[in-house]
C-alpha cells in the first residue's frame, strides 16, 4: 500500500483517478482504519486529504457556511457561529463516538462511509446541505442526499472526492434539531434517528421545513410528505401526529437485535415529532 498526502484537491483527484487497484480517501480514518484492520478493505493507495487547505477550514460567506472535508467534529463544536446557526447539524456530528473520535471524524467521511445510521447525515439532509465534489474532469455540486446510494456505497465516480460541505444561508426564524435512539446514553450507533429543519413566518407559522430520517432504510431518507404535514401549521398536536404518520410511511428498516421493524418505525416517528418541537423552539416559535 502507498500513502500520499497531496496539497491540492485536484492533485488528490488525479492520484485517485489513475490509481490501479483499490484506492481510498483518508480524512479522519475512524471508519477506514477500522475496516483496514479487520481486512474488510485492503487499499493499494491511501490519499490523505488533511494537508489540503481547502479541506481544513470552516468558512462563512454571505451567511452560508462551507465546511472542509477534513474538519473534525471537535472543530465544529468549537466554532461558535456555526453552532449558533446550525445547532442540529453540530449536535448530530458531535454524537459520533468519543472525544478521541471527535478529534478525527469528519462529516464528509460520515457521508461517504454511507452507513444508513450515520448521525450527521439526516441533519445535513434536513439542512439542505450540498457537497462540493472534485474529480479529474472538474467540479460539481451535489445535494448530500444524492451521495450515499446504499450501505457502504456512494454515487462518487472513480477519482472523485468531496472537498467541502456547504450549508445555505439561514433565513430569520429558522431552527434545526437531530435526535437518535440508542439503548445507552452515548457511544453507540443509532437504532433510528430524525433530523428536522424549519423556518417560521413572523406569526410563528412554519413556512418551510425539511425532515430526514436515518437507520430506517438503506440510505437516509428525505421525507417530503412529512415536511408538508407541518408546513402551514404552528406545530399543533394534529400536525405532529401527521408528521409521525408520514415518517412511519417512509420507513423500511431492517429487523435485528438492536431494534425490530415495528420498533424502529414507531420510534422514528416519535423522534421526528420531538426534533420538530426542538427545531420550532430554536426558530423562536412558542
Amino acid at each position: 500500500m502507498k500513502y500520499e498526502s497531496p496539497k491540492t484537491t485536484k492533485e488528490a483527484a488525479q492520484l485517485l483517478a489513475k490509481a490501479k487497484g483499490e484506492a481510498r480517501v483518508l480524512a479522519g480514518g475512524t471508519d477506514l482504519l477500522v475496516q483496514m484492520k479487520s481486512g474488510a478493505v485492503e487499499p493499494d493507495l491511501l490519499v490523505d486529504i488533511k494537508r489540503i487547505k481547502a479541506t481544513q477550514e470552516i468558512k462563512k460567506k454571505d451567511g452560508a457556511f462551507e465546511i472542509g472535508a477534513s474538519v473534525p467534529g471537535m472543530a465544529l463544536r468549537d466554532h461558535k457561529a456555526l453552532s449558533k446557526a446550525w445547532p442540529g447539524v453540530v449536535e448530530a456530528a458531535n454524537l459520533i463516538g468519543s472525544d478521541q473520535v471527535q478529534g478525527r471524524c469528519t462529516m464528509a467521511g460520515n457521508l461517504c462511509n454511507a452507513s444508513p445510521a450515520a448521525d450527521s447525515v439526516p441533519a445535513l439532509v434536513a439542512a439542505k446541505a450540498k457537497a462540493k465534489v472534485v474529480g479529474p474532469d472538474g467540479r460539481r455540486t451535489v445535494p448530500v442526499e444524492k451521495i450515499p446510494t446504499g450501505p457502504g456505497s456512494t454515487s462518487l465516480k472513480k477519482g472523485e472526492i468531496i472537498e467541502s460541505i456547504s450549508l445555505p444561508k439561514r433565513p430569520a426564524r429558522s431552527g434545526d434539531a437531530y435526535l437518535r435512539f440508542i439503548p445507552r446514553t452515548e457511544m453507540d450507533i443509532a437504532v433510528c434517528s430524525a433530523g428536522v429543519n424549519l423556518t417560521l413566518s413572523p406569526s410563528g407559522v412554519i413556512k418551510d421545513a425539511r425532515v430526514a430520517v436515518g437507520a430506517v432504510a438503506p440510505t437516509v431518507v428525505l421525507a417530503n410528505k412529512a415536511a408538508k404535514a407541518i408546513i402551514g401549521t404552528k406545530l399543533d398536536d394534529e400536525a405532529l401526529a401527521k408528521l409521525a404518520k408520514e415518517v412511519e410511511k417512509v420507513c423500511s428498516p431492517i429487523d435485528d437485535k438492536r431494534g425490530t421493524i415495528e420498533f424502529r418505525t414507531e420510534v422514528a416517528g416519535v423522534l421526528a415529532r420531538r426534533a420538530a418541537k426542538i427545531a420550532y423552539e430554536r426558530a423562536g416559535g412558542k
Binding site: 480514518g29 468519543s98 472525544d99 457511544m187
Partner: protein
C-alpha cells in the same frame, strides 16, 4: 507494502522513523520509539487505552497512521511528568487509588489532561462524558472521576496563585 520516512516531534523531542505505510501510530510509538505507555486495548478506537494528542488534539493512536504525523507534535503519557515531578493528574490518580491493573491509566491521564486544558473547571457529568471514550474494566470509574475533579481543583488553585 511501501515504507514511509517520517520526521515528527514526540514529547518535545525531534524524532525520525521509518515504518510501513499502513502502520498505526500506536505501533510506531511502542515498537519503534520504545514509548510503551500507550496501550492497545481494542485497536478500533473504542477503548481509549492508546490515547495520545496530535497537535494538541486528543486521538486514539490506533486510529492514526504513523505516516500521518509528519511535522506534527505528538504528546504521550511519557511526556506528562516534569522530570521527577509527577503531573497533578498522575499524583491524584495515585492518591485516590484511581487504578487497579493500570492498563487503561495512560489513556485516562491523557484524556483527562485534554479535558482540563479545554475546560479547567468541569462538572462531574462533564468529566464522565469527556472520559466516555476510555474504558476501565477494574475500578468502576468513580475513583477516576474523583481524581480528575481533584486534580482540576488543584490545577486551578496553582494557576490563580501564579497570577497573584
Amino acid at each position: 507494502m511501501s515504507s514511509v520516512t517520517v520526521s515528527t516531534t514526540v514529547n518535545g523531542d525531534a524524532v525520525q522513523f521509518v515504518c510501513p505505510a499502513d502502520e498505526p501510530l500506536l505501533d510506531v510509538l511502542r515498537n519503534r520509539l520504545g514509548l510503551t505507555g500507550a496501550k492497545e486495548g481494542c485497536g478500533t478506537g473504542d477503548c481509549g487505552a492508546c490515547s495520545v494528542t496530535v497537535d494538541g488534539t486528543l486521538v486514539c493512536s490506533c486510529l492514526v497512521l504513523g505516516a500521518e504525523v509528519e511535522g506534527r507534535e505528538v504528546e504521550t503519557v511519557e511526556g506528562m511528568a516534569d522530570g521527577d515531578e509527577l503531573h497533578p493528574l498522575q499524583r491524584k490518580f495515585i492518591e485516590h487509588a484511581a487504578l487497579q491493573c493500570g492498563i487503561c491509566t495512560p489513556g485516562f491521564l491523557i484524556a483527562a489532561q485534554a479535558l482540563l486544558e479545554h475546560n479547567p473547571d468541569p462538572t462531574e457529568k462533564e468529566v464522565r462524558y469527556a472520559l466516555a471514550g476510555n474504558l476501565c474494566r477494574c475500578t468502576g470509574y468513580d475513583k477516576i472521576v474523583k481524581a480528575v475533579l481533584d486534580a482540576g481543583k488543584e490545577m486551578r488553585k496553582a494557576k490563580s496563585s501564579k497570577k497573584r
